[in-house]
């Protein structure tokens, strides 16, 4: 390597150092600690037990626990339902915003609002809509184990569809109009040119939105805490909330750490997929 390249490497290391230290202190080391902790029994309510090494017992306990599997299933269901809806509605909204009409700028600004407000606020607004006053349709939505999912998914779709739409809109706007015109000249109907020209060209943007949203939805926490508290019972409890309870309410740090590692494992697999998809472009 040339001397110039070596000094550039040094400068890069210097400039990146603060960021690297942050990441090390806040993410990497704590994560390693969590892995270590997950191999121990560590119960802050039972301090006299100390912190004996128990191998994979915490993991075994989690895998044998029905509530864990329920939480995992809830999380995956939430991801599927809300991300699926967001992709479809986001695409529709993006196509709408891509057309020229009076008030388009206003609509685009309006779309930014749900995305920008705190999730907690969005959850409260939707809880109010479903429970604050006499319930819509006379149905006690939040008291029913199945129906409680409706406001949860709706709130998430309302809040994050605009994000998907804006990503896809950027994809649409970077697209060469001439291609669509060529398709039209070739006699393609609007539907066919959408299917065969627009969608394939939008693929990268769709992928980014999809994986971004999947990872984010997988971490769902505040929305559920505020909207249903995981209830009724534990009917809408996602993995993050179950883990949070084990850690900061039951104070079972070893067991909670095992749950954390599992959540991390799934999240990491998804993140790797994300980086590979993004990196390939």
């Amino acid at each position: 390597m040339s001397p110039g390249a070596r000094s550039e490497g040094r400068l890069a290391a210097l400039l990146g150092l603060p960021v690297a230290l942050c990441v090390l202190a806040v993410a990497v080391l704590p994560m390693l600690w969590t892995v270590w902790e997950s191999l121990h029994r560590h119960d802050l309510r039972l301090p006299w037990l100390g912190r004996p090494r128990v191998g994979l017992a915490n993991y075994a306990e989690a895998l044998a626990e029905a509530r864990f599997w329920d939480a995992l299933a809830h999380t995956l269901f939430f991801v599927l339902a809300s991300v699926g809806l967001e992709m479809v509605l986001g695409l529709l909204l993006a196509l709408l915003l891509h057309r020229a009409f009076r008030g388009r700028a206003a609509l685009r600004t309006l779309a930014l609002l749900p995305w920008a407000i705190p999730t907690v606020v969005a959850a409260l607004v939707w809880r109010f809509l479903f429970e604050g006053a006499p319930a819509p349709g006379g149905v006690p939505w939040l008291a029913d184990a199945t129906l409680a999912w409706v406001p949860v998914v709706l709130a998430d779709v309302w809040k994050t569809t605009p994000f998907v739409a804006l990503l896809l809109l950027a994809g649409l706007q970077s697209m060469d109009e001439a291609l669509l015109e060529a398709a039209r000249v070739d006699g393609a109907t609007a539907w066919r040119s959408f299917l065969h020209v627009t969608l394939p060209l939008l693929r990268p943007a769709l992928l980014v939105a999809l994986v971004f949203r999947t990872l984010d939805a997988f971490r769902v926490f505040d929305l559920v805490v505020v909207l249903t508290g995981g209830g009724p019972g534990t009917a809408t409890e996602p993995l993050a909330l179950y883990t949070f309870g084990a850690l900061l309410q039951e104070l079972r740090f070893g067991y909670g750490a095992a749950l954390s590692v599992i959540a991390f494992g799934v999240g990491f697999a998804l993140a790797l997929a994300y980086v590979r998809l993004v990196g390939r472009r």
């Binding site: 390597m1 040339s2 001397p3 110039g4 390249a5």
Partner: protein, 353 residues
Amino acid sequence: MAELRLEGLAKEHPGGVVALRELDLQVRDGELVVLVGPSGCGKTTALRLVAGLEAPSRGRVRIDGRDVTDLPPRERDVAMVFQSYALYPHKSVRENLGFGLRMRGTPRPEIARRVEEVARTLGLAALLERRPAQLSGGQRQRVALGRAIVREPKAFLLDEPLSNLDARLRAEMRAELARLHRRLGATMLYVTHDQEEALTLGDRVVVLRDGAVQQAGPPLELYERPANVFVAGFLGAPAMNLLPGASGLALDLPSTRPPEPVIGVRPGDVALVAPGTGHADARVEVVEVLGHATLVHLRLAGSGAALRALVTGAGSLAPAIGETAGVRLATERLHFFDPRDGRRLELSGPTGG
């Protein structure tokens, strides 16, 4: 002003791509040397090495005898005019011009004085408060030049400074550059891919190809005695005809070693005559009217080799497409090249026919 000396300057990129191999060059105080060649020949790399924007793999750069190879750009006291001009878009013309002086801690009144002076010289006085985006291409070009001039650097490095201008403006700026160079007595290293610019501007011209020097010398010398086929074909417009051997021309070639030499003849040295009276007959394929002259593309009858003739003057033979004409070469102005390595052959006592 100062003398610029490149000693065995070479640059290889990681991965083994050679951008420049062993360039030795001296630009004397006040001299304008042009590096010319097709894109990718290493000319811009050479300039960036002199500026300090890249580090050479080998070799040294000296300015006025001082070795600056390991100094950062700002300590070399050279100015550079970029192909894209690289004007600071967020600064006014005045700030653009004064930036280099400000970076060097020149006192404010002095900056103001020198900026005004340069702006007057370049006709920018009325534009000082504008932003680059509000200027025309030619005006931007002048600001880029002014930014270099105002600093009174040891040497100017110019990277294709005229290539973004339209043809008319380019010719105008070329003349202005020549005037400026003479007036400032500035040491300049000038990079271009345009052979015409090289020939008209350079005190000396260096032709580069694939990172290696093909020939260096005063423009006329290169034009009249190109050292090899590449230089012969690269310099001069329209380009020199290069015929593989006699190609059916009734030329009395001086006896050489077995391979017949490549014959070079500039289109202006080919005359059209009545069929059967020249060195050969040829069919007219394309006629390009240039205004001051007419360029005729021919195909030689026997060998089928292509030949271009530049016919000047009114009333000259202007054959129609498809017709047959005779061609006569100015035999005392032929160039000969070795077909194996393309090098110039000094063959004396040619030819008649």
